[in-house]
């Protein structure tokens, strides 16, 4: 387990990570520093009908799972590491397999429907290719906190229900070779799941569903305890703090970009 906490601003992204890092700017500084003052929404909103920050926390925020109460502004090491059995998938896992369209009548912002979405995660996978169900029969949460996949994970639809279903089911991170852009964006914006990239092409072929793995975000490392192999991960970069905060809104509030809800 990593002992160093992940300092949000200190991670410098490599070029290929910058390519996929949601908020990475070319100068690698935290993205807000490159935003011009007139884009500060806090100022903008104070002159609009929206009122100034409310001090009360939202009543229910299923999406803000990661906002554990903490006096420190540094990332808790236990949040930056995930451990447990992994679920392994191949290339081009599209959104229809992650959450089939018939379940899109569920509205993710409604707490009970959010939970239901989670229970249907990966129900679209062909059972011939994936004999172990992601969620055991009768269960509503997954036993696999880590998903390992090939290239172009999350391709297809823009449905935000896809990362939401995975997060609601209880997964914490996907380790994939590459991501479709809307899925990556949605994962970061919702803060539901970490979309981590691995260096190794074909990593998924060296892992088997059920292998016990550890993901160390701070060390950019994946350890497969069952096979004894270790793999290098690409740094999550500036997307990390956004997911850590609980998504784009929480991050924007935390950094003063927008005000909290008006009531």
């Amino acid at each position: 387990m990593a002992t160093t906490a992940m300092a949000a601003a200190a991670i410098s992204a490599t070029p290929s990570t910058v390519k996929n890092s949601f908020y990475a700017c070319n100068n690698h500084a935290p993205f807000l520093s490159s935003c011009r003052p007139r884009l500060s929404f806090h100022h903008r909103l104070s002159s609009s009908p929206l009122t100034l920050p409310s001090l009360s926390a939202p009543k229910y925020s299923p999406i803000h799972r990661h906002c554990a109460a903490s006096a420190s502004s540094k990332v808790d090491a236990s949040i930056a590491n995930f451990h447990g059995p992994c679920y392994v998938l191949g290339d081009n896992i599209d959104t229809d397999q992650i959450i089939p369209a018939e379940y899109l009548t569920l509205v993710p912002s409604k707490p009970d429907e959010y939970e239901k979405l989670g229970s249907y995660a990966f129900i679209g996978l062909p059972s011939a290719a994936y004999s172990t169900p992601f969620i055991a029969s009768g269960a509503t949460k997954t036993g696999f906190p880590i998903i390992i996949a090939g290239a172009n994970f999350g391709c297809g639809s823009s449905r935000e229900h896809a990362p939401v279903a995975l997060g609601a089911a209880g997964s914490r991170a996907v380790i994939a070779e590459s991501y479709a852009r809307i899925f990556f964006r949605n994962s970061v914006a919702t803060g539901e799941i970490y979309p981590v990239e691995c260096e190794r092409v074909g990593l998924w072929k060296e892992c088997t569903t059920g292998d016990i793995v550890t993901v160390e975000l701070g060390e950019n490392r994946l350890i497969n305890h069952t096979t004894g192999k270790e793999y290098k991960l690409k740094p999550i970069g500036d997307a990390g703090p956004v997911i850590e905060a609980g998504g784009i809104f929480a991050y924007a509030r935390k950094t003063g970009m927008i005000a909290a809800p008006s009531n």
């Binding site: 018939e102 509205v107 809800p261």
Partner: protein, 507 residues
């Protein structure tokens, strides 16, 4: 099932170098040399390296920009920007529908407050279209959620439906969002259109930047009118040659996706130019841009021209300012396609890049044909299908489902005369051919939907479809097999009961 994924090109931040033509396997792409007149002096080069730590855009080095870069520069109020930059853009139009809308509204209210007002009640277009003609209670409730919000916020453009038993009794109702946006004049050159739907890229046909986003991003836009976007590098596709009478834009985009794979354009803009493109009408251009997302593309774009302006004449009175790629703009890659060499294609199960010649799939017996969706359910698509049925004069051998994208398309099917038919309408030709009666306009079974959706695939069958995706379970049943095709190919297949080549009917 996995299709080969091209290695991503991290060289965008690497040293400037020539990017040779990508390897190709089909004779129609890029084997020939550049024409002497050289349509443009575009160099397919990679963007120069930016040293980390250097201040961004000192302004002293300005260079040419592509269409997409120009649009994003304008809406982010920058004189210049480069691929890879993250910029805050002012959004011109935000679209949402019954699947993305309720979630977006929930996030908007939670994050901005129960009494918050949207940033601009005239710039949000709310279009119920996905799960409309169903008895699914949640689906019906979701349309109610949209209505309540539109009333509360005084949303100017809400294409409502209340009476599900007769769509014609709902004058406001349009149907499929992307086609409704075009028909109602919401797509304008040079603007930024964002929507909670992956096929929002459809609107790139109008020379604007249009892309799909999720509920959270949309909720953010709803409150602020802005979004942080990463500027994509542009892949240029030059299509030249006269369009053969058996080909449609669907064949062209299937050709391209088959060439570059479902991740070939990830995080990139796809720009479509060339003499063939100039000869396409707006609906065909939409079909092309519609499937940019199937190649992983962030957006697709076609330069606006007289065809665009003519289409927009009776649809919008808003001012707009088209932009065009500079002559020496830099593209991350360029592909040239000799359209005269393209043949009718299908995308076999289970991926849009699983390209095959229709004529090589003639042994595939099919169970049904589906003609519909934003990709293949527009007026031009139905006219094309009618042309094949007319040429044949015979009846279809399998159930053939017709799902017009919008009310207007439905009306066109019942009123427009089909050329060469002696005044018959599409509807008459479809009836004579034994197709199903054209149904209520909506997204229908393109994405399966609730169980009672018309034409949903509830058994493991083989379907030829004019839709946009064929991943497992896309139209309903997980073991269903979907062959994506043009309306010509779909109609031809309906007539033979097998995957068919439209040249058998049109030549």
């Amino acid at each position: 099932m996995a299709s080969p994924v091209m290695a991503s090109n991290p060289a965008i931040f690497g040293a400037k170098k020539e990017f040779g033509f990508a390897p190709c396997s089909s004779p129609s792409i890029m084997r020939h040399r550049l024409p002497r007149r050289a349509l443009n002096k575009v160099l397919a080069v990679v963007a120069p390296a930016r040293s980390p730590g250097a201040p961004s855009a000192s302004g002293s080095v300005k260079h040419a920009m592509t269409m997409t870069e120009k649009i994003l520069a304008r809406v982010s109020e920058k004189s210049h920007l480069e691929p890879g930059e993250n910029v805050w853009v002012n959004v011109d139009v935000l679209m949402t529908h019954d699947v993305g809308g309720p979630g977006t509204i929930g996030i908007f209210k939670k994050e901005f407050g129960q009494n918050a007002r949207v940033w601009d009640h005239e710039k949000i277009v709310i279009i119920p279209d996905h799960y409309i003609f169903t008895s699914d209670e949640r689906a019906n409730r979701n349309v109610d959620i949209l209505r309540d919000f539109c009333l509360e916020q005084n949303i100017k453009y809400f294409y409502d439906i209340k009476g599900l038993s007769n769509f014609k009794a709902n004058p406001d109702y349009k149907g499929v969002c992307h086609i409704a946006l075009a028909q109602e004049g919401h797509c304008r050159p040079g603007e930024v259109l964002l929507g909670t739907d992956s096929h929002t890229c459809n609107a790139g046909a109008f020379g604007q930047f249009a892309t799909g986003i999720g509920n959270t991003d949309a909720g953010f836009v709803m409150g602020t009118g802005k979004l942080l976007l990463k500027v994509p590098p542009t892949l240029r596709f030059v299509l030249d040659g006269e369009m053969p009478n058996y080909l449609l834009a669907k064949d062209l985009i299937l050709q391209i996706i088959g060439e570059i794979t479902v991740a070939g354009a990830t995080y990139k803009s796809m720009e479509f130019v060339g003499s063939t493109i100039q000869g396409l009408n707006m609906e065909e251009r939409m079909t092309l841009c519609n499937m940019a997302v199937e190649a992983g593309g962030k957006n697709g774009v076609v330069p606006a021209d007289e065809v665009t302006f003519k289409y927009l004449e009776d649809k919008t009175s808003e001012n707009y300012e088209p932009v065009y790629s500079d002559d020496n703009a830099r593209f991350i890659g360029e592909y040239r396609i000799d359209v005269s060499k393209v043949e009718p294609l299908v995308a076999k199960p289970h991926s849009p890049d699983n390209r095959a010649l229709a004529r090589e799939c003639k042994d595939v017996k099919i169970d049904r044909v589906y003609i519909g969706s934003c990709t293949g359910g527009k007026t031009e698509d139905f006219l094309a299908a009618a042309k094949v049925f007319l040429a044949s004069g015979k009846k279809v051998k399998v159930p053939t489902f017709l799902v017009p994208a919008t009310q207007k398309v439905w009306m066109d099917i019942y009123s427009l005369p089909v050329p060469g038919s002696g005044g018959k309408t599409c509807s008459q030709i479809f009836e004579e051919a034994g197709c199903d009666t054209p149904t209520s306009p909506s997204c229908g079974a393109c994405l399966g939907g609730p169980r009672d959706t018309y034409a949903r695939m509830n058994e493991p069958q083989i379907c030829v479809s004019t839709t946009n995706r064929n991943f497992p379970g896309r139209m309903g049943h997980k073991e269903g097999q979907i062959y994506l095709a043009s309306p010509y190919t779909a109609a031809s297949s309906a007539l033979t009961g097998y995957v068919a080549d439209p040249r058998d009917f049109l030549m």
